[in-house]
Structures are given as structure tokens and as C-alpha cells.
């Protein structure tokens, strides 16, 4: 178990003197073993997510130093099979604010600890619907966009372009199945037609023979405007484009992607956030980095506005109408009071540009157009927030 402590210096600031408030936050990671993908090109950064939290800490510290608020970030990383519950208990003994970088089951394990009942936890890595639905928890907020938010964003774009007839190729990993399920829901929600679905046979290395295999594989699909790919691990999807039987665009996990954040996002001052992140981490900012940054900044914003650091007051403020977080996406971010999901615009991107940002024009909503993305209040399966509003 690695423990690193980063303290935000208060030092010699000309702070307007007010009572000093300590805001200790723990970044708790459950390390996971990732099965290999075909390409050797992708390096998964060691500090994916964590670097975002560190940037959020630095951002908070500047506001804090003018107010006498001292933010600290402890990092705890538990190896596969390690004692996550024990590490969580230790962290909760230090303070009630936890940023979780862990799979869904592990997130729930921490949220259900008796010691966590009065704590405030942030899910920054698990996109599954169940954590916002039947398995939601009143002490758990989500700054990582749900899969449904991303697939709804993509579906809105397809509607706008009138690419109504679709086919889907699905990988066999759990995250692919989660993505495919969310995608089917989004296509139904926005009135698009899934003409065919084909499971990808991931039993061979196709790097050298994609040009022979993919045309054959896609030849049997009925006519479609665009080919969707569910390959969230980045395994086979990259070899599909330009090798399809019909010349068709690719979207989903590959090609045109709806993401919570990407290096190509630059409008609304995002270029500044990207350059601050690059200076800190020496690499591009990922969606997980953004989620961890947003969690840290949400804490900072709530502490700044309430002058308090206890989890209960911060939670109340974040779920209330006063809370507004500048997230460099053109609209203030907030939390949905029915399931704790952070609402945010979703960029629809290629590797080189933002093609559109959802919610797209014309998708209306009585309160916030961002709530056209993901699960809205009337359809939520979450009850925990009703019991503890």
C-alpha cells in the first residue's frame, strides 16, 4: 500500500484572515488487472484519475489560501485482492471526504461500510447504470458521466444528422456489454433503428488481416447509415474503420465518440484547464482525470460557499440549487438530486476535433437540457435520495 500525502501550503499569503478550516480528502484507488488489448500502442498512465485530483487540489488551494481553507489530499492505492475495506476505514477515520477510483462492486463495498454512512463519496471511475439506479447510495455522488449520458449524447447527434438506421458490433468484455446495453436504450429513447447486432469474435489477432476479415464480417449486415462499435477497452474497434464492406462511418467506442472529456475539448476556457493539466502531469487529460478534478473542485466550491468542511453540509449544498461548478464545458455543472449524478454537457469528438457538444439544439427539457442526457427524475430507479434528500 502506497501512501503519499500532498499538503497545500498556506505559507505567506496575504489572506484575509478568517478562521482556518482543514479539508482533508482521500483519493482511494482499487487497482485492477487489465486483460491485454491487441495493440501495444496504448500506455495506460499510472496516475489516470489521480493527476486530475491533484490539479483540483491545486485549484482549490488558490481559493483556499485567500480564505484560510487548507486542502490536503492523501492517496491510497490498494493492489488487486488487497484490503480495500480496511484502507477505506483508515481513510474515513481521517475525514469524511473520499474520492473513489474503483470498479462498481468495490465502490458499493466502501459506500456500505458503517463508517461511511455520514461520509461523502465520489465515484470517479465506474460508469454503470446500476450505481445511479437500483444500487444508488445516498452517500455516493458520481462525477464520472454514466454510460447512458454518453450514449444519449451520441444518439442525439445521430438524430440531428438523420442517420437513423444502425448496426452494432459488440465486444465480449463486461464494459462492452454495459456500453451496448446503454446504446440500445438510447437508440430506443431517441427513435433510432438498430437493424442488426453482431458479436465480435475476439478469438484472433486481426492486426495483420483486418483488411481481409472485416469486409467479410460486415458484409452480412443489413443496410445501415453508420456502424456502431462497442469496444470500451479499445481492443478490436480501431481495426474496423475503412475496412467495412460498405463505406460507412464508425461511431461508439471508436471513430466518433461521446465522452465526458477529451484532449480536443478547448472551447469555454477549456484550453486553460488542458494546459494546466499538461504542465502538472506531462500528458493529456482523460475523462477519469476530469471526473477526479471535478470531484475535488466540487468539494472546493462547496467549502468556499458554505465556509464548512463537514460532509453532511457539503452534500446538502452540492445537491441544492445554489451549487454551480464551472467545468469548462459552457454551462454550470451541478448534481442531480434524484441519483447524485453530476450533470454535464457531453462532447462528441474525433481524435482531432469536437464535432458537437450534447445536449444538442432542439432536445428540450423543462428544467435543464443537460437532463436529456442519462436517466431523468421520472424514470429513475434510485430511491436512496428520496429517503435522505
Amino acid at each position: 500500500m502506497k501512501i503519499a500525502a500532498i499538503a497545500a501550503a498556506l505559507a505567506t499569503w496575504a489572506a484575509t484572515a478568517s478562521a482556518e478550516i482543514a479539508v482533508p480528502v482521500t483519493y482511494l484507488r482499487q487497482e485492477v488487472e487489465r486483460p491485454p488489448v491487441l495493440s501495444n500502442l496504448d500506455a495506460m498512465p499510472e496516475n489516470d484519475g489521480l493527476a486530475g485530483a491533484e490539479l483540483g487540489l491545486a485549484d482549490n488551494a488558490t481559493t483556499g489560501r485567500f480564505q484560510g481553507h487548507v486542502y490536503t489530499l492523501d492517496t491510497v492505492s490498494v493492489p488487486p485482492g488487497g484490503d480495500l475495506a480496511g484502507a477505506a476505514r483508515d481513510a474515513l477515520a481521517r475525514g469524511g471526504l473520499l474520492i473513489l477510483d474503483a470498479p462498481a462492486a468495490a465502490v458499493l463495498g466502501v459506500a456500505d461500510l458503517p463508517e461511511a454512512e455520514a461520509a461523502l463519496l465520489f465515484n470517479t471511475a465506474a460508469p454503470e447504470a446500476r450505481l445511479r439506479g437500483a444500487d444508488c447510495r445516498a452517500n455516493l455522488l458520481h462525477t464520472i458521466a454514466s454510460t447512458a449520458m454518453r450514449t444519449d449524447a451520441l444518439a442525439q447527434f445521430l438524430v440531428t444528422r438523420r442517420w437513423d438506421d444502425l448496426a452494432l458490433v459488440t465486444g465480449d468484455r463486461l464494459e462492452d456489454l454495459d456500453y451496448a446495453e446503454a446504446l440500445r436504450g438510447s437508440l430506443t429513447k431517441f427513435g433510432l433503428r438498430l437493424r442488426a447486432e453482431a458479436p465480435w469474435p475476439s478469438d484472433a489477432d486481426i492486426r495483420r488481416n483486418a483488411a481481409q476479415e472485416v469486409p467479410l464480417f460486415t458484409q452480412g449486415l443489413p443496410d445501415h447509415d453508420l456502424l456502431l462499435v462497442a469496444d470500451e477497452a479499445g481492443d478490436f474497434g480501431r481495426y474496423i474503420a475503412y475496412n467495412t464492406w460498405q463505406p460507412r462511418l464508425v461511431a461508439g467506442s471508436e471513430g466518433l465518440r461521446a465522452v465526458a472529456w477529451a484532449p480536443v475539448v478547448e472551447a469555454w476556457g477549456a484550453a486553460q484547464l488542458q494546459s494546466r493539466f499538461r504542465a502538472l502531469a506531462g500528458r493529456e487529460m482523460s475523462a477519469r482525470d476530469y471526473a477526479a478534478w471535478a470531484a475535488m473542485r466540487a468539494i472546493g466550491e462547496a467549502v468556499t460557499r458554505t465556509g464548512a468542511a463537514d460532509a453532511a453540509r457539503l452534500r446538502d449544498f452540492m445537491l441544492g440549487p445554489e451549487f454551480e461548478l464551472g467545468g469548462f464545458l459552457g454551462q454550470p455543472l451541478g448534481f442531480r438530486p434524484w441519483d447524485g449524478q453530476m450533470r454535464q454537457p457531453i462532447p462528441v469528438v474525433t481524435d482531432r476535433a469536437v464535432v458537437a457538444t450534447a445536449p444538442l439544439e432542439g432536445f428540450l427539457h423543462p428544467t435543464s437540457e443537460m437532463d436529456t442526457l442519462g436517466i431523468d427524475a421520472p424514470e429513475t430507479l434510485c430511491t436512496a435520495f428520496k429517503d435522505r434528500p
Binding site: 499569503w13 496575504a14 489572506a15 484575509t16 485549484d59 488558490t62 481559493t63 485567500f66 480564505q67 476556457g269 486553460q272 494546459s275 494546466r276 466550491e301 468556499t304 460557499r305 454551480e324 461548478l325 464551472g326 459552457g330 454551462q331 454550470p332 435543464s368 437540457e369 443537460m370
Partner: protein, 327 residues
């Protein structure tokens, strides 16, 4: 057609006078140029080259020098407005975005967006006098009419930082709503106004004790509140009326500076940023970043008169009086 007739009637007086009425200078962030608009003809008459990513723009008090923040060149450029020639660069600190010239006509207070610093430069000796640590992404800059207080607002820290211009030290830091963008002193310096883009408000401070005395909100019919994002604003010379750019709401608000009430909204181009008046303040020129143009607004009737195509992503605007006309 009734609409066009009305515009023509209102516009007539402006076009009738053929003599020079000065110019509006507009920085084009994504063209590295300044478009110079002739106020008499409402046409672009000149394009001046600048450094990279020009944003903040202001003239010296005698209009003999132009200062431009060339953000990506990490310099404030000093330009001869007659020839368009870049005379020299001032040491500005990294990524200067916006600045304000002190009433002494000498000290320039510059927001260094990427560095969380406000740099004070002597424009005569071309030396940095001070660098002041402020919040993250400083942008809005203002100086009180008596020159005693300079203000920097920081976009991510969400504060107005109050700088004593004698000591170049912060003496107060006041919270505002999310993403403050622009600041101005009003009423002989008695009030400070700060716009918050994401918060959607203008916060009004009492300068004497830095307390908040009012908050101005905006509501444009048919536009979602999240899209109503106040950024730049300008006051009429009598201080009675403020014109506030509302960014992606594509409108400017007309605010009564006494009652803090919004009187009217005027439709302009897309993502309106900043603006400048002509000499007699009969016309207001707004920079529309996304549509790449400038809207000319008739101040008396509060109606848009004309749209003028400029360069890519127009941002800042400044007025230069006609030669020999000390406006």
C-alpha cells in the same frame, strides 16, 4: 420591410456626416490581426497585423500608442496606430489576456491567464514593477478613477482581488459567482461591478468596505438561463446605463446603473464578448466571437443597425478618435 425602413431612418444621421468620426479597433483572436472600422462609413478600412492571439486592447490617453495583449506571443505589443507598425513589446509575463492602463498613463496592470499572476509594467522604462500572485486564470482588470485600487478577477478561483497600487499588495479578496470575466469601477469609484459568466450575474461591491451591495441577474425570453453568460460590459459617460454582453445568449442587456434593473435586451451576433462606444456614445460596437462580426447598436433607440464582418473570433474593442479631434 418596416424593420429595414426604421433602421435606415435611424442610421441616416450617422451616414450623413462625411467627415471623420474616428475608428473602432477590434482584435481578432484567431487571425492575429486588428480590424479597424471607420465609424462614419461603418466599414472595415484597415487590417493591422499583431502577435499571436490578440485579445485585450487599449489606447494611451493621448491615443498616440496602442497596447495589445498578444497572449500566445507572451507579450503586450505597443503599436503606432497611424502606421500600424509594432514599435516594441513590453515584458508582460506569460499569456497576457486582459489589462488596464493606470490613470497615470504609465503603469499597465496585466492579467497573466496561465500563471495566476498580475504583472505591473512601466510602459516608459519597459520594466516589470511588480508581479502579484492572484487566483487561477486571472482575466478581468479594472483600476479606480483615483488610481489607488487595481482589481484582478480570477476565473477559477471565483474572486475579485483588490490591489493597493501604492504597495502592489493585495488588501482584500472577495468572492463572486462562478467564472468572473470583467470588472469596472462606477460612480467615481464608489462601486465595483464584476460579471460572472457561469454564475450568470454581476456582483456590485461598495468600494469603501468591499461589501456586496447588489447582485444583478439576467433573463432573456426563449434562452435557457445556463446560456445567459455576462462577460464584458461598458458604461455610458454619465454612468447611468450599463451595456452588458451576454455571451452565447447572443444579446446585450441594458442595465439601469441606479436601480440595477435590466431595462432591455438587444439581439446581436453569436457569443458576444466585449464592446466599445464611438465618440459621442451614440453608437455601440459589440464583438461577436462565434459569428466573426461586429454589431453596431444605436444607443438612443437601443436597436441594432448593422453587422460588420471582421476577422476570426473578434474579442476586444477600443475607440480611437479622428485625427485632431481630442474626443
Amino acid at each position: 420591410m418596416r424593420y429595414l425602413t426604421a433602421i435606415a431612418l435611424i442610421a441616416m444621421p450617422a451616414f450623413a456626416q462625411a467627415q471623420a468620426q474616428g475608428e473602432i479597433w477590434v482584435t481578432n483572436e484567431k487571425d492575429n490581426t486588428i480590424s479597424v472600422i471607420d465609424v462614419a462609413t461603418l466599414e472595415v478600412v484597415r487590417t493591422v497585423s499583431t502577435g499571436e492571439r490578440p485579445r485585450g486592447i487599449t489606447f494611451s490617453s493621448d491615443f498616440s500608442r496602442l497596447f495589445v495583449c498578444a497572449s500566445d506571443s507572451d507579450a503586450v505589443q505597443v503599436i503606432d496606430p497611424e502606421t500600424g507598425e509594432i514599435l516594441h513589446d513590453l515584458p508582460s509575463g506569460e499569456d497576457p489576456e486582459q489589462f488596464v492602463l493606470h490613470p497615470d498613463d504609465r503603469r499597465l496592470y496585466i492579467a497573466n491567464e496561465d500563471d495566476a499572476i498580475t504583472t505591473v509594467v512601466d510602459t516608459e522604462t519597459r520594466q516589470v514593477i511588480a508581479q502579484i500572485d492572484v487566483g487561477i486564470e486571472p482575466e478581468g482588470m479594472a483600476v479606480s478613477p483615483d488610481g489607488k485600487i487595481a482589481i484582478t478577477t480570477s476565473e477559477t478561483t471565483n474572486m475579485a482581488h483588490w490591489i493597493d497600487t501604492e504597495t502592489q499588495q493585495l488588501f482584500a479578496n472577495t468572492l463572486v459567482d462562478a467564472r468572473p470575466r470583467h470588472a469596472e469601477f462606477l460612480k467615481d469609484g464608489a462601486e465595483l461591478w464584476v460579471s460572472s459568466e457561469i454564475g450568470g450575474t454581476i456582483t456590485v461591491f461598495d468600494t469603501a468596505d468591499q461589501s456586496e451591495i447588489a447582485k444583478i441577474g439576467f433573463e432573456v425570453t426563449g434562452i435557457h438561463p445556463d446560456r445567459v453568460q455576462p462577460v464584458g460590459f461598458e458604461l455610458t459617460a454619465d454612468g447611468a446605463t450599463a451595456f452588458v454582453a451576454l455571451g452565447p445568449a447572443n444579446h446585450i442587456a441594458v442595465v439601469n446603473a441606479e436601480t440595477y434593473e435590466v431595462e432591455e435586451y438587444i439581439l446581436v451576433g453569436r457569443r458576444v464578448w466585449h464592446m466599445a462606444f464611438n465618440a459621442d456614445q451614440s453608437l455601440l460596437f459589440t464583438t461577436n466571437g462565434v459569428s466573426g462580426d461586429v454589431t453596431v447598436v444605436d444607443v438612443a433607440s437601443r436597436k441594432p443597425l448593422k453587422t460588420i464582418k471582421v476577422g476570426r473570433f473578434p474579442w476586444g474593442a477600443a475607440f480611437r478618435p479622428a485625427q485632431g479631434d481630442p474626443a
